[in-house]
Amino acid sequence: MNEYRADIISTVEFNHTGELLATGDKGGRVVIFQREQESKNQVHRRGEYNVYSTFQSHEPEFDYLKSLEIEEKINKIRWLPQQNAAYFLLSTNDKTVKLWKVSERDKRPEGYNLKDEEGRLRDPATITTLRVPVLRPMDLMVEATPRRVFANAHTYHINSISVNSDYETYMSADDLRINLWNFEITNQSFNIVDIKPANMEELTEVITAAEFHPHHCNSFVYSSSKGTIRLCDMRASALCDRHSKFFEEPEDPSNRSFFSEIISSISDVKFSHSGRYIMTRDYLTVKVWDLNMENRPIETYQVHDYLRSKLCSLYENDCIFDKFECVWNGSDSVIMTGSYNNFFRMFDRNTKRDVTLEASRENSKPRAILKPRKVCVGGKRRKDEISVDSLDFSKKILHTAWHPSENIIAVAATNNLYIFQDKVN
């Protein structure tokens, strides 16, 4: 499997109703899937997702000043809430954020006076009557047009974008800075966080992810490579270098090693839908934090603790730097994240049960039920188990998404997208 293929999926996101599912890939393309309307004849058959629109969002660029390529890979897609018939989404690569409008056209005007049906101009001398053009149905066409381009605001690589609950602003975060944008204004943004040291030699920590609070438009969080989360309030000051809250778990001295810091680096942070909790993903665990308790998480889930003894090898092959994302289900009762060997894990916060599933062609015939998987860590391996040493570390599930209200999940496994739904009856 070639890691440099352009169709490797780099981000997955449902829109606010779950009707649309967008994916971005390494080649700068966005593919949007739309859920079929459930037909009256087959009530029990859930709507399936089909391709709705495909467009090239970003192109590769070259930074002449630094003699470096700027990748066209789509790092994140975020949908705006729907306000009219058209759909809007933000997509970003390392440097530039774009606002795309996706709209349908299913009618076209016919009967122009000055043009004929092919669009050629008619000789005015031949026109003897006037008519009013009418709209006639045509085959559905979905067009995507770039409405705004927000460029030249990031020196470092953008890792996150987040739409504010006011729907007028959004933020973009890179390794060292976070900028606040107004959707209508592309030639300037406000810098709201800047952790760049005066002397780059003193740099020891970077921003890894950021997100707005789902309801309070003045609040946002950002995570760091040292395993900390900061909650900031934009009302406090223009530059939010001072946090309102600082979340960090004390280190466990018995587990200390040269890799401790690396595995504590947070790769993703997500508010719960309720806005009361945040979830963070580091290399080996997922943690749930209560916004009212800063000194430790309220829940910690082991994603693949059997890798703890392999950290040196994983450091050597760079897997230890893989950035896994995590997601909440619609009711904040279940959380999901990916792992290696095309495994992904779900944790039920109420029952404390967890499951490991695999996204692969062999195991996923349509409408087949996924079988839980198990990794054997030592000793005797049972028939269905897979041993740690047999895991395929090139098959990593970094990006997953959960439908906002139903039990439908999207899982990106390299260049394949899997969509799983709850079994009906």
């Binding site: 499997m1 070639n2 890691e3 440099y4 930074d63 630094k66 003699s67 470096l68 390529e69 700027i70 990748e71 390392d94 470092y156 690589h157 390794d175 060292l176 780059m200 030699e201 740099l203 020891t204 920590e205 970077v206 890894t208 490579s225 001295p253 018995s254 587990n255 200390r256 090693s257 040269f258 890799f259 810091e261 690396i262 680096s265 703890r308 003894s309 392999k310 950290l311 040196c312 090898s313 994983l314 450091y315 050597e316 092959n317 760079d318 730097f321 040493d389 047999s390 895991l391 395929d392 570390f393 090139s394």
Partner: protein, 268 residues
């Protein structure tokens, strides 16, 4: 070239600060055992497990080498991942700090302006000689190439005398350690400067001089021969060879499938 992976044959010290970090079991693959009391004069008494035993030192050195190579390989066509670079650099600093506490920190100074490579050879030779003296061996008055005889006796007289009396850490201080340590710090800083504004050739400057002798030894230990001098052009190729696991016994048992995975990863 003498072996410079020196032991702390010095007085064992209690683990310092909040750093109960002598846990090679967690750091590296399971199955690797630290050397125990059979080290003899190298390790003393019950605190053997908390000191830098030879195998731990080797592992740590290997990790340091690996990290430095990783930083170097950052400079490929696309701008390097800053988060990854920062994490690797922090790891290098941690190792450096620990080795400084152990007194095993070797001089790994990229050229300060005008500093002849021989200085570096000479000073590492002195470190080694002092270690041998500590272990009771008779120091051979071997000044390497002998090209700069004036320097060596001057430098050697003080450290070796002191070394007999005091732990290796004071030797480190005598040997103008600040400058050398600063030299390494400077090299880390240079890495970040080059990340900021990449200047072609800076990476080679950074490591070229260090590597020739530094990696000779470690190439034997880690099997990374020839992988570090590639510079820009063969970034991927260098990555492949660097990603090839070292022949160290520690990680081999766990790398069977990872080898395969890594090959897949770097295949273009």
């Amino acid at each position: 070239m003498a072996c410079c992976v020196s032991d702390t044959s010095a007085t064992p010290e209690p683990t310092q600060g909040a750093w109960p970090h002598r846990c090679p079991g967690t750091m590296f693959a399971r199955g690797l055992k630290r050397k125990s009391a059979e080290d003899g004069e190298d390790v003393e008494g019950g605190l053997a497990g908390t000191q830098a035993t030879p195998s731990y030192s080797l592992q740590r050195q290997s990790l340091l080498d690996m990290s430095l190579v990783k930083l170097q390989l950052c400079h490929m066509l696309v701008e390097p991942n800053l988060c990854r670079s920062v994490l690797i650099a922090n790891t290098v600093r941690q190792i450096q700090e620990e080795m400084t506490q152990d007194g095993t920190w070797r001089v790994v100074a990229p050229q300060a302006a005008g500093r002849a490579p021989l200085d570096r050879l000479v000073s590492t030779e002195i470190l080694c000689r002092s270690v041998r003296e500590q272990e009771g061996e008779r120091p051979a008055p071997d000044v390497g190439d002998g090209r700069m005889p004036g320097l060596v006796p001057g430098l050697s007289a003080v450290p070796s005398a002191q070394a007999l009396r005091s732990p290796q850490s004071s030797l480190w201080e005598v040997d103008s350690s600040r400058e050398n340590r600063g030299g390494f710090q400077k090299s880390l800083d240079q890495i970040f400067e080059t990340l900021e504004s990449k200047t072609p050739g800076s990476v080679e400057e950074l490591f070229s001089d260090v590597d020739s002798s530094y990696y000779d030894l470690d190439a034997v230990l880690t099997g990374m021969v020839g992988s570090t001098q590639s510079g820009h052009g063969s970034g991927l190729q260098a990555f492949t060879s660097a990603a090839t696991p070292p022949p160290g016994s520690s990680c081999r048992s766990d790398l069977g499938e990872l080898d395969h995975a890594v090959e897949i990863l770097v295949e273009t």
